[in-house]
């Protein structure tokens, strides 16, 4: 029984087919969920992929988070379902309040498309369960707004609860505390700026994203939250 990964598509989203392709390659089944849908059609996990939902106008994710599908995603997340936001998807999850903080313009005020080293800071999350803490992965980033910010209180919480899932080895965008990805308290909602699906095949230069996608597929097939720390 193949694991079904729902991939949300807003107008302006552009990485949805890449995520579907990468998931399918790993034996799962990617399914597009259009933003006007009100249910997740029974998928085992939801991915909010990269792109420019609603053109990133006003603020990244600002308009997308009001789409009907996002209510379904929020309920799914509240019930412990695995939810991952990649790049623009991370921005949407922050705007939707499923993850704390926000992402603003890169410190260099330039769009950045390059492959960077990302350290796995905890293996306890739906996107890092199959990885080892301390692993350094070569992952592509592709964003203008990847500069994570949050209040000092929020940062303290994230650090105390070990909810910073990924850090840049060499901070490319000014992100607070080198943060590349975080998770919620339940550790079933993860957002990150790097693109695991773009590192899912050696012929593209790196396959380091595979371990993350496998983690998601595993978490999805259990449809349960990893316990403890």
């Amino acid at each position: 029984m193949t694991t079904r990964i729902g991939v949300v598509q807003f107008p302006g989203t552009n990485c949805e087919l890449d995520v579907v392709h990468a998931v399918d390659q790993l034996g799962g089944r990617g399914e597009i969920l259009f933003h006007t849908e009100r249910t997740l059609a029974g998928v085992d996990a939801a991915v909010v992929p990269g792109g420019f939902a609603h053109g990133d106008y006003l603020r990244t994710g600002a308009i997308a988070r009001f789409s009907p599908i996002m209510e379904a995603v929020a309920q799914f997340a509240a019930a412990g379902g695995p939810v991952v936001g990649i790049c623009n998807g991370f921005q949407v999850l922050c705007e939707a309040g499923l993850l704390p903080g926000a992402l603003q313009k890169n410190a260099g005020l330039k769009f950045l498309c390059q492959t960077v080293d990302v350290r796995v800071e905890t293996a306890v999350s739906v996107l890092s369960g199959a990885a080892r803490t301390g692993d350094v992965l070569r992952l592509p980033i592709n964003h203008f707004e990847g500069n994570y910010v949050c209040s000092p209180e929020t940062l303290a919480e994230l650090q105390a609860d070990n909810r910073v899932v990924f850090r840049y080895v060499d901070n490319p965008n000014g992100s607070l505390d080198d943060i590349a990805g975080i998770c919620n308290e339940g550790r079933n909602v993860v957002g990150l700026m790097p693109h695991p699906e773009r590192a899912s095949d050696a012929v593209l230069g790196s396959a380091d994203g595979v371990v993350l996608l496998r983690s998601l597929l595993a978490a999805a097939s259990e449809r349960s939250v990893p316990a403890g720390r």
Binding site: I63, F66, A102, K105, N106, A107, V149, G174
Partner: protein, 86 residues
Amino acid sequence: MARYEARIDVTHLPGILDPQGATVERALPALGYTNVSRISVGKSIHLVIEAESEAAARSQVDEMCHRLLANPVIEAFEISLSELVP
């Protein structure tokens, strides 16, 4: 029903760094401006709203800012209203 023009000035919350402002500030001396400081770059949103009263208009715009037009996590906003006389 009256029509009001609203100007919303969206700025960064104190303590939240402002990459655009910082970059402009860095650039100015090279252009010969050494007497300028505390630059911040935010958004300015203009819109026209129909409402019973200025108070009604203001409270709706305020709600729109909280929900959509600004992000309270990183941004502050200031609303100024003026009635449009047809």
